[in-house]
């Protein structure tokens, strides 16, 4: 029974692995081009941090936070997003597939559609962004003067994994929205790229209502703000109780489940272009 419940998941993962391996092989046929796009990805995102460095050439603190502390928030957000982006960054192509009707090809194949869409044009060059986030995070961990406890040490990898899970749910949810609005890939960008940009700065920078929105409506605050502020020993936004720093696994699981439901609803509503 339990075996039956899991088999679609296993099948999906297998399809995802096969398709992404195929795309990696095709990318590796042009190694120089791959290296260039990966580096380009690295450089594009690195400029975001350069902007923060330029800000700190003029000030010592931003929203009451030091450069090292902001680098920690930045690195955590960027790494978590980078993980989700490598795995699911192709999801925003769904709108185009719905428009030109090529989604139909995926529907008739004997593999879960979600896995096929996610692995479609699997972009290994997106590791450039991931590398950039990891680098800044490492810098922050070296420079920061943190009173490490086992719990805080554990919190760092947990935060990255749960953050990636939360962003993954946003990617899937955004793709599901494109079944309805086929031409609106940019709305998804607002939540994915916009989300990671927002989380690069401390919550003290933003208006209370905006912080409320990304805590209770679209719970991005659980990607890095709450767990990272626990590690840094800083007060949480909105006077949230201290145990909320440990809730990201629950939030990520709930969001992923919700994204699954939304995805299935979106897929069911799909009418091919021909009919």
């Amino acid at each position: 029974m339990a075996d039956d419940d899991l088999s679609p998941v296993r099948e999906g993962l297998r399809a995802y692995r096969l398709i992404s391996a195929m795309w990696i092989r095709s990318l590796m046929a042009y190694r120089v081009s791959f290296a260039m796009t990966a580096f380009g990805n690295f450089a594009v995102t690195a400029f975001d941090f350069v902007a923060i460095l330029l800000m700190f050439s003029q000030v010592d603190r931003l929203g009451g936070y030091s450069l090292a502390e902001i680098a920690f928030l930045y690195g955590a957000s960027c790494t978590a997003f980078g993980l989700a982006d490598v795995a699911l960054g192709s999801m925003d192509r769904l709108g185009r597939r719905v428009r030109d009707g090529t989604l139909d090809t995926l529907l008739v194949r004997p593999a879960p559609v979600l896995a096929q869409v996610a692995a479609d044009r699997f972009g290994l060059h997106r590791v450039g962004r991931l590398a950039q986030g990891t680098l800044v995070l490492t810098y922050a961990l070296v420079v920061l003067d943190i009173d490490w406890t086992p719990l805080k040490v554990l919190m760092v990898p947990l935060m990255l994994l749960c953050g990636a899970g939360i962003f993954a749910a946003v990617f899937v949810g955004g793709a599901a929205f494109q079944f309805v609005a086929q031409d609106a890939a940019e709305v998804q960008n607002a939540f994915t790229y916009g989300g990671t940009t927002l989380l690069q700065y401390p919550p003290t920078v933003f208006a209370k209502d905006l912080v409320r929105g990304v805590t209770f409506v679209l719970p991005l605050a659980f990607v890095n703000w709450l767990p990272a502020l626990y590690v840094l020993g800083r007060p949480y936004p909105l006077d949230l109780p201290s145990w909320t720093a440990f809730t990201p696994p629950l939030v990520a699981a709930a969001l992923l489940a919700l994204a699954g439901v939304v995805w299935r609803a979106g897929l069911r509503s799909y009418r091919s272009t021909g009919s």
Binding site: V44, F47, S57, V59, R61, L62, E186, N189, V205
Partner: protein, 273 residues
């Protein structure tokens, strides 16, 4: 004289067609407006924090700094700072060889694409520029030009910015004649475009020599200068100097484009046998 009028009508028609073409994607435009507004909101708060810490940074007061954020969002697609203009299409035509057909046409390659890009920029300004700006003005205290002349001065600076932006991207596209694949150059141009135009941070906040250097490059004509004109930072002779800087870069880059176009055209003939 008659021929001239005919030419003008041709390019005007290209501009209009390009405008209509971009206007077709209504859903995508609405989605873009939404994204620009979200990013404007996030950036506005980071700028507020920065200017809270250092009032008067870069010669801007807080209201001017906030206005700069929303101008950046409004002009992002107009100036094609992150790509997304005609260059991808032109590179594709060069790569596939379709460019040979274009060169046989009784129209000038550079003028043709300039006309098309002007149509695109005009639509982006109306379609994606105004709504985020209005939203920004409703939520924050922005600094707007005090009179019609101020708006006109800004509009001239924006048009000149589009000319410089086009000239840069035309060169990017022509590089495909030699490289066959424009991906690398396009990406470098995008990086330079976001960084040196002042999209990430106003160029007058850049420290020391880096700031001087950035302000001398052509990309400063795309966002920093139109923004300064909008914010009333340039008037009288300073305004004329700004225009001269923009015109200077536009003319220089367009001339290089013209030269490269001539060289490249000969290459096509050689390749074609």
């Amino acid at each position: 004289m008659l021929v001239r009028a005919g030419r003008f009508r041709l390019y005007a028609a290209v501009t209009e067609g390009s405008f209509r073409r971009y206007a077709t994607y209504r859903m995508a435009t609405a989605a873009g407006v939404f994204t620009n507004t979200v990013f404007g909101l996030i950036l506005a708060y980071t700028y507020l924090a920065l200017w809270d810490e250092r009032p008067g940074l870069g010669g801007y007061d807080q209201s001017q700094a906030l206005t700069y954020v929303w101008l950046g969002q409004a002009l992002l697609t107009v100036m094609a700072l992150m790509g997304g203009g005609f260059e991808g299409e032109l590179i594709e035509r060069i790569r596939t060889g379709d460019i040979a057909v274009d060169l046989y046409r009784p129209a000038d390659l550079q003028l043709w694409w300039l006309a098309a890009d002007v149509g695109r920029a005009a639509f982006q300004l109306l379609g994606r520029g105004i709504v985020p700006m209005v939203f920004g003005a409703l939520v924050f205290d922005l600094t707007l030009p005090p009179d019609v002349l101020g708006w006109l001065a800004f509009l001239v600076a924006a048009v000149l910015g589009v000319a410089v932006s086009f000239a840069i991207r035309f060169l990017v596209a022509l590089s495909a004649f030699w490289l066959m694949d424009g991906a690398g150059v396009t990406q470098v141009a995008m990086l330079a475009g976001t960084f040196f135009s002042g999209m990430l941070l106003p160029l007058n906040v850049f420290p020391g020599a880096l700031g001087e250097f950035a302000r001398a490059l052509p990309w400063s004509a795309l966002l920093q200068m139109p923004a300064d004109v909008f914010l009333g930072e340039r008037s009288g002779t300073a305004l004329l100097r700004t225009y001269a800087f923009q015109i200077g870069w536009a003319v220089a880059l367009l001339a290089v484009g013209r030269l490269l176009q001539a060289v490249a055209t000969r290459r096509v003939v050689v390749q074609g046998g």
